[in-house]
Symmetry: C2
Subunit: 457 residues, 2 copies
Amino acid sequence: MRPTAFLCTVLLWSLMTLPANSTLGANLQKPNVVIIFADDLGYGDLGCFGNPTIRTPNLDRMAAEGQKWTQFYAAASVCTPSRAGLLTGRLPIRNGMCGQRRVLFPDSIGGLPADEITLAEALKAQGYATACVGKWHLGHLPQYLPTRNGFDSYFGIPYSNDMRAWDDRSKMAPLMRDEKVIEVPADQTTLTRRYTEEAVAFIRTNKDRPFFLYMPHTFPHVPLFRSERFAGKSLRGLYGDVVEELDWSVGEVLDALRQLKIDGRTMVAFTSDNGPWLIMKLNGGSAGLLREGKGCTYEGGMREPTVFWWPGRIPAGTVVTDLGSTMDLFTTAAKLAGAAVPDDRVIDGVDLSAALFGRGHSPRKTMFYYRNRELFAVRKGPYKAHFITQPAYGKGEKVAHDPPELYHLEHDPGEKFDVSKQKPDVVADLIREAELHKKTVKPVDSQLDRQPAKRAN
Amino acid sequence: MRPTAFLCTVLLWSLMTLPANSTLGANLQKPNVVIIFADDLGYGDLGCFGNPTIRTPNLDRMAAEGQKWTQFYAAASVCTPSRAGLLTGRLPIRNGMCGQRRVLFPDSIGGLPADEITLAEALKAQGYATACVGKWHLGHLPQYLPTRNGFDSYFGIPYSNDMRAWDDRSKMAPLMRDEKVIEVPADQTTLTRRYTEEAVAFIRTNKDRPFFLYMPHTFPHVPLFRSERFAGKSLRGLYGDVVEELDWSVGEVLDALRQLKIDGRTMVAFTSDNGPWLIMKLNGGSAGLLREGKGCTYEGGMREPTVFWWPGRIPAGTVVTDLGSTMDLFTTAAKLAGAAVPDDRVIDGVDLSAALFGRGHSPRKTMFYYRNRELFAVRKGPYKAHFITQPAYGKGEKVAHDPPELYHLEHDPGEKFDVSKQKPDVVADLIREAELHKKTVKPVDSQLDRQPAKRAN
């Protein structure tokens, strides 16, 4: 682009964004929102969550300057539904983003339905610059891409890094910019570094207006890759190298915010999409003291190591044991931005700001644990009833429980001691809660189970 | 004691201690040493080690201002041998403080042999004031009490809080001051509070001279008791209440040091005597991501949540992954105090100060895991070979392994993936290490298995 053309573009862009921005003064009140979303990171994989040999000084510092949430959940125990829940504030069962196929694959023709309102759309309408940097996994066909879902820009891989490219099945996942494939296969060794550079560049470009950066990392999902400078760095081996590069990335993002002096008006949330992929053995993570991992409705599958950071607003060095969910990021961020939370549909997210800012508790009292399209378990307060259980996928069959298994998760986070016999009233209450919940769910077709496209190869 | 007698005593004491103290100036160079030793606390029981519902703000702050060690071990997996190891810097196998009875009981006639040199004796010889506040468990007969082992004073229970008093079998463990029983049974509901008051009083009294405070808490060993103000406070239930009172106690000790402005010349170490007592179910703790618990030579039995604190000397907010052992507290503290480490016997402890002060690594490269008098496992570097395994006591039989089970503890802290087949060289090296070690152990009679005293009741 020649200098003149560049200037014109800048002017045009300024004019275009003015209406949405309303006034500059009002915009400065709207906080930036950064969501950093690891992939398959376990509850026990960070230093500040008890890992002995994975070193995460940046996340540990983020927790020391911010707030650790110890009972915070993903919306589902696998990638696609979990991401759909975060971005829409709705359980995936409500919008078809779950199914027998568990996640979207390169031959899938489904994706996030157009009438769903994403957090990016909600914040864009409030004048936010929006970017998605990382793994999407809510539909790789053009109509489902981030740029069709409220993101001004996109840089990343369209689905999991262990999947083959839909347009060249001889190669692994491609890298895309906006709606174009720019690298097949994506060079995964430099992905975390490049995501980080993209994220920091986006922050620098948008430092004077409110922005929403959604940064769903590709790793530590297998196959594991890390850049040269992290090779052999971690005592934990390859998996540790990969997590330590993610930790470095978090540090770069926070440092950029500090350097630009916009840390005082930026909320950063770090969490993971689901638990550790245990069948990957040492290439998978650890759920710490929690039971099971990815794909499973025991705590290890859905409870995530979560840290919030907003210097000056979120009290430093605090720990919150209230319930939270990635779906709550939708509602919390929308409210902080002054957006109305949609009232024409069920929104499962709640506003966590009272707990975040140390002036009250999270309003969340329940958690619904789905596996694919089936409600397996319900948590209410400290109690969780498992109506159905099944080990992480590939490891065992579905078992129905009547009465349900009942655990007091605050006494027994490892789900070791079934107290259903001692607490029939609690069991009855949780059964009621499940029934009430089911009445709020209207059947919709699964986007994941839609007939795969026919392929030549 | 009348005032005149008191003054005389003070004068006499001053004269007696002068030679050992040499000059006041030199004494101010000697750091105070405080060792806070929990009982049966698990690796996963503190907030800063990943517990979701036990709130430990004081220990978390201690870690943020100090140093967390993530691969730090007790000398044994049960009470008596573990304590003997800490206080002598020697594996309990070397001094008979282990045996088939596992620990000392109220009918035991054995105890720490008089020719053992305790850390209290070593530091007392350097002019330190010394106190033991808490559970002793190295012999309750007069000749074995803390006051015969280098401690100027003692306040606490002589063995575990689930044992009956040796002199009144109808009652639980007594409370002692120095060599006198002062309460039978000890009112356990106020023990943690009273220990704390004693500890703080000792610190205040001795603020102007070097002191050694050894504070082996009674809890969270069962039966669990806590003072009124902690009743029902923890989300984790009774066990959490008890740990949260311990956390409060740690805060009181650190606050006293800060208020007296002697924090800059006091090293505080917090750790536990062995892993969580898992068979106690919810009245026992959690080993986090580690395997098994108390009584067992898997990591959960002997790796402890450990924090060091010394403002101005130990770099704040650091994490050390080097190997350490409670036996190293002996050597490290002795050296800091200017005492010679005994050279007429094998000392297993090493000097951790290079790692503590951020100027090098721990010299410890090995760990020997005994169960009673038998060597079950050896760690060297990241690898651990289990020659014999047995679940926590009461849960299964001894199994010998040839080749030994081999785990890479830094990749696989949960001891899930036996790599003995892939690493025959490492197995051979660890077998050699075990043989070399065994040659350093001279047979001595077990103090624990000595014929119990005959009793009327």
